[in-house]
Symmetry: D2
Subunit: 365 residues, 4 copies
C-alpha cells in the first residue's frame, strides 16, 4: 500500500485496500513469495539462459494476467491460504514484464509446491523433547502459467518501482526477523548458563568471559530492536521501525551468531555430540553405567543433565542447528543486503559535514 | 547520596544533601578522584609494600579526619574548585581506613597537583586548526596529610559499602563516557567519508564495506545510549540509565575503536602520516609543487584536501589520537570492568530458566 | 616411552619398548583413551561425589592391577585391537591411584563399549554421494573392574608425572589434528569456489574478499603445520614437531572454523538448506521443474549444480557439519587447552628481556 | 632483471646487469620510488585533471628521456645515493608514457625532495631513551623534468609489463616488510609481559589470555616468514620466498596489529598516557612523591617501572606509535593489495577441483 501510493496509481491503492480488508475479514494467513530462483547471478532477468529464472508476465487480457516462474525458500507456504508475490530486485526498462506483484490463492490452477520436510532428527536414538517439536517446512513454488485477475494485481510493468517494493518489504520483514530471533538467542544463552552450571565450570574465568560476550550479544539485539521502534520513520501514513537500526540489528544478529554457537559448544563440552543414544538410556543393561558416569554438578540428577545435553545438542550441534545457521545467514536477506540498506540509510553526509566543518573546509553539496 | 541512603546513616544523607546545595549555590565544578596508584595489583590495599598506595585515613579527631594517599589520572583536576574522593575498589574488614569518601577544596593544605600537559603537537610544522584546540590535562593528586572536616566526610570506615560507592559512581560515569564519545566517533566517520570522497574512492566496494562498518559502529553506540535511557532502573529516588545497556555500550565503543581507527587510516591513505609540513606549505618554493601534486577529487582544492588530511591526521595518526586510544581503553574503567558489571547485571538466571524449562528440567533456585 | 624415560624407572621403559614391538609385530591398531567423564569439573578427582569419575586403580596384586572408571569420546574405539589408557590431567599426592596408564585388549573382561552411530543423514531424501560415506563412531568405554597385568602397566601411582604424560600425548595428538583437517578445509574452500562459480558470483567483490579470507585460513594452517615440522624439539631421542607452532596451528584452525563455515554458507546460497529432496529429483512429475528452475551458470548442468549443492550441504549445513563444528571445538583438546600450552611454550621471557633491555632496565631473572 | 628477461628485450637485461654491477662496485644505497601522488583515484593516469599525477615521459631523444611527476612516501630517500623508479600500477595502451622505469642519482638536476621530520616527541618532558633514537624520514620526491640517459632506463613504453614490474617489486618488498617487523612486535610483546609483571597482574586470567594472543600473533608472523622462505618459487634464475605465504604473513601482521596495540595498552594501564613528565621526575620537590606513589611490583624500583612505562608509551601511545599504525596499514602496500595478490596466488582451482571430484561433478577446465 505504501508503494502503491507512491506509484500514484489510484487503482493499485484501491486494490491493496480491498485486499487488506478481504484478508482481515477472512482472517487468512499469507505467505510472501519474493526470492526468484535467479539462475546465473551475473546476468540480469532478461539476460538469462531462459526467461523464467525470474517470475514474469507471459500474457495479459481484459480479465487479468498470466504469470510464469518459480519462487524459492518460501517458509510455511503450503499452510497458507494465499500467496503474495513481489519482485526480488531492481528491474531495467526492458524487464517490465518482471516488475509484477499480485496475490493468489495457494491452490490456484498451475501452482505447484515442491516442499521439503524439516531437517530435525526424529529417530528413536534421540532424546524426547519436553515441548512439542514444531518446525517450518520450506517450499519451492512453481507458477506454471497461473492466471491472476486484475483486482489482485498490485504492480504490473512499473519496473522503476520494483526495487522500492522489494526494499519496503525487506524493511518490515527484517524487523520481524530481529524480533523472532530474540527468544532463540535467549535460549542459546540459557543453554550456555545451564551447561556451565551442570558441568561445574561457572566460575572459570574463560567461561565467565564467554557468558558476558553471549549476554552482550543477546541484549544488544534486544536494545537495538527497542531503539528501532523508538526511532520510527514515516512511510506515508504508516510508522515503520527505523530501517537503519533494524538493519544494524539484523546484521549484528547474523554476523556474530556462529561465534555464539561456538561459545555454547565450547562451554557445553564434547558430550553434546557424543552422548550415547536414548536407546542406551532406556536399555537396563547400559543405563546404570550412564547414570553412574554421566553426572555433573550434584545439584542436578544425571537424567536432568542428559536432558539438558540433548536439548543443547538440538540447538547447537544438530541438523536443526546447522539449518538455523543457514537461516541466520540467508533468511530475510543476507548480510550483504543489510549492508546495502545501511549504506543507503546511514547519515554519511552528516558525518562528512561535521568533519569538513571541523577541518575548516567549505561544504559544497 | 544514593549510597548514603543505603548505609542507613542519617548524618551521611544530611551531609551529601548539604554539600549538593552548596555546590549548586556556588555553581562550582568538581573533579571526581577515584583511581588510586595501587602499587602491586596482586596485593590488597593492606598488603602493599607501604600503606599509602591506596588513600586512607591516618588520623581522626572531633573536627574531622586526616587523609594520606594519591589519586591518579584525574582529568582537568587543577581547573576545578573542589575534589570529591571515592574509594576505587571493594575493601575487607581490615581495610576500614581505606573505605573513605569526602570532598575538599582543591587548594586545601597538603594537596599537590603533579600535572602533565596535553600531548598534542603544536609546532609550526603542524597545520593550524580551524577550531580552537582544547585539550584536557591529567593530574596526579597527592594528599599529603590533608585535613577534612566531618561535614565533608561521606564515608569513613564502612568498608562493606566501598564497592557499592565505586560501582554507583561507575554507572553514572560510564554513561557520560558513552555520550561524550558520540561526536568523537561521528567526526571519525566524517573523516573517513570526506577522505574517501577527496581521494576519489567512494565507490570502491571495500571502501563502502568499511564505511558501512564504521556507520554501524557509530549508530550502535547512539542506539544503545538511547536504549539505556529508555530502560532506566531506580536507585532510591533517582532514575539511572540501565547499567546493563550502558556497560554494553561502553564495551562496544571501547572494543571496536581501534578497528575503526584502522579503517579510517586505511581509507585516508599514507598521506595522513607523510604530508609535508605546514612550513613547506607556506614556503613559496615548495608550495607550488604541493599545490600541483597533492590534489585529489577536483571538486575540492588542494588546500581543502590538505586541511582535511591534517584534520584526519590529528584524529587518527597523531600523539593526540594515540592518547585517545588510551582513553578509550582505560578512561571510565577498562573493558574488564565493563565485563564485570555485565556479569552482575545481565539476566543470566532468566536465560537459564528458559532453557531448563524448554529442556524439561525442574528449576531449583 | 618419552615419559617413561623421564620417570627414571627402567621397568616402564622396558615395558613400553616391549609393547611397541608387540604392536609392530602384530600390526595392531590402537585407540588412545584419555578423557574421563569428570563429573563436577569444579572438583578434583578425589573430591567428586563418587570415586569413579576419573579412572583409577581399585586393587593391585603380584600379577597386575584392577581398574575402574570410564573414558569418553573415544573415536573408533570398537574397531581397534587394543586400548591405551592415559590420565587426562594433573594429579595431587592424594590422587596417586588416578595416576595410571596401561594397555589392554579391547575385549578384556569388564570392558563395555556404549557406542553411538555417526550423525549423518542417510534417508532416501538425501542425494547419493559420489564417494563412499565413511564416518567415525564415538564410544564411551566403561572399565568395570578390569584386570591389567604388570607388563602392560606404564604408570601406576607416579602422580607427579600424570600431567607430563597428558601433555606429551597432547603434543603428538594435536599435530595429527592439524594435519588431518587440512583436506577438510581444502574441501570447504573448494565448495565455496565451486558454488560461487555455479551461482555466477565469482566476480562480486564481497565474494572475492571471502574467498581470499578462506584461502588465507587454509594456507595458514598448511604453512604452520610445515613450520612446526621444520622447528622440531627433542623429547629424549624423538624429534617432535614444535609444540608451540602446533598449538598455534590448532588454535588458528579451531578459532576461525565457524567463521569459514559462515562464509561458505553465505556464498553458497539458501538452496543449500532448502533444496528439494532427492525423491523429488527422481520423481518424473517434479524433476522437470527442478531441472528448469534450479540451474545456474550454464557451464554446468542443473544436475551438476544440485550435486554440488548436496555435497556442500553435507559439509556446511547438515548434522554431520554440526558434528564437525563440535569436533573442531573439542577434539584433540579445546581452545583453552591450546592456550595453556602456548602459555607454557611461548618465549615470554625472551620478549620481556628484549623490552627491558630497550627500556634500560636491568634483567633480574 | 626478472621482468627485463620476460619483456624479451636484451638491452634491458644488459642495462639492469650493468646497473647492478655498478651498485655493487660502489656499494651504494638505493631508494625505491614507486607510489605516485595519484590525484583522483577514480581516474586512470591518462584521465586526471593534469597529466602529472603519475610520473611520465615528457620527452625523449637519442641520449635519453625526460620525466615529470612526483613520488610519495619515499622513506629515507634523501640519504640514498640513487633512486630507482618503478610504475605503481597497471597501464593501458594509451598510457605508454607512464610505463617507465629508470635509475637516477638522487642529486640529478630537477629532483626536489620535500621531506618531513620524524614524528617522535623529543621535548624535555620525555624520558630519555636508553638506546639511540633513530627514526626514518619520509620524502615527497618531485621530478621536475629530469633527464635520464638510456643506459639507466629499464622500461619505457612497454605498458603491458608495468603491472608485472609493480607486482614483482611488491613480492620482494613485502617479504622485507614481514621480516623487519618481527623485532618490533617482539618488543611490543615484551612491553606487555614486563608491564604485567611490574603491575603485578601476570596471573590474572584475562592478562594471560591476552599474552597468549599476543604471542600467537608474533609467532605466527615468524612461522609464516620461515614457511615462505622454505616454499620458494622461481622467477627466472632467482628463488623468491613464496608470494602467497609472504602476502598472508603481511596481511596477518597488518590486520591484527591494532588489536595487539589495544591489548598492550590495556595491560600497561592508564599511566602509559598520564605519567608525569620527566621534568617532574628531575624536580626534587615532586620526585619524592613520584618515587613513593608510582611503584608497582617491589621486584623493580619505581625508576625502573617508570623507564618501562616511558618505553611502552613510546611504542603504544605516542606520535611515533600512531605513525607506526599508519606504516602497518600502508607501507609495502595496503591490506587490499595483499588480498589482490592472495587472490592471484592462492590455489583456488585446486580447491575447486577437489570439491568437484568429491561431489561427483566433471571438471571442465
Amino acid at each position: 500500500m505504501v508503494v502503491a501510493q507512491q506509484m500514484n496509481k489510484p487503482e493499485y491503492v484501491e486494490r491493496t485496500k480491498n485486499y487488506l480488508e478481504y484478508l482481515i475479514k477472512n482472517d487468512w494467513t499469507l505467505s510472501g513469495a519474493v526470492t526468484d530462483t535467479k539462475g546465473d547471478r551475473s546476468k540480469t532477468p532478461a539476460g538469462q539462459a531462459h526467461p523464467d529464472y525470474y517470475l514474469h508476465v507471459v500474457d495479459r487480457n481484459k480479465d487479468g494476467i498470466v504469470v510464469k516462474g518459480c519462487k524459492m525458500h518460501i517458509t510455511a507456504a503450503p499452510c497458507c491460504n494465499d500467496i503474495i508475490v513481489l519482485p526480488t530486485r531492481n528491474m531495467q526498462e526492458n524487464e517490465a514484464d518482471y516488475a509484477v506483484s499480485f496475490a493468489t490463492p495457494s491452490n490456484a490452477k498451475g501452482i505447484k509446491f515442491i516442499c521439503r520436510p524439516s531437517r530435525g532428527e526424529r529417530s528413536p536414538n534421540e532424546y524426547p523433547s519436553s515441548l512439542p517439536i514444531r518446525d517450518l517446512n520450506e517450499a519451492m513454488i512453481v507458477f506454471d502459467n497461473v492466471f491472476v485477475p486484475w483486482e489482485r494485481v498490485f504492480m504490473c510493468g512499473e519496473w522503476a518501482y520494483a526495487i522500492l517494493l522489494a526494499y519496503t518489504f525487506a524493511t518490515f520483514h527484517r524487523f520481524t526477523a530481529v524480533c523472532y530471533h530474540i527468544p532463540i538467542v535467549e535460549n542459546l544463552a540459557g543453554c550456555a548458563v545451564a551447561m556451565a552450571e551442570m558441568n561445574g565450570i561457572s566460575n572459570e574465568e574463560h567461561v565467565k568471559d564467554k557468558l558476558v560476550n553471549i549476554a552482550s550479544y543477546v541484549e544488544t539485539i534486544k536494545a537495538l530492536a527497542q531503539a528501532a521502534t523508538l526511532s520510527p520513520v514515516r512511510y506515508g501514513e504508516i510508522a515503520v521501525p527505523s530501517p537503519l537500526i533494524t538493519n544494524m540489528a539484523k546484521l549484528h544478529y547474523a554476523r556474530s551468531y556462529h561465534e555464539v554457537i561456538k561459545m555454547v559448544q565450547d562451554i557445553s563440552g564434547g558430550i553434546i555430540s557424543t552422548l550415547p543414544t536414548y536407546r542406551d538410556w532406556e536399555n537396563p543393561e547400559t543405563r546404570p553405567y550412564m547414570e553412574h558416569y554421566l553426572g555433573g554438578n550434584p545439584k542436578y540428577t544425571t537424567e536432568e543433565r542428559l536432558k539438558m545435553v540433548a536439548h543443547t545438542h538440538r540447538w547447537v550441534a544438530s541438523a536443526e542447528s546447522a539449518h538455523q545457521e543457514m537461516i541466520t545467514v540467508h533468511a530475510e536477506g543476507s548480510m550483504e543486503t543489510q549492508k546495502m540498506m545501511i549504506m543507503v540509510e546511514a547519515p554519511f553526509k552528516d558525518y562528512r559535514d561535521l568533519a569538513l566543518l571541523a577541518a575548516g573546509v567549505e561544504i559544497k553539496d
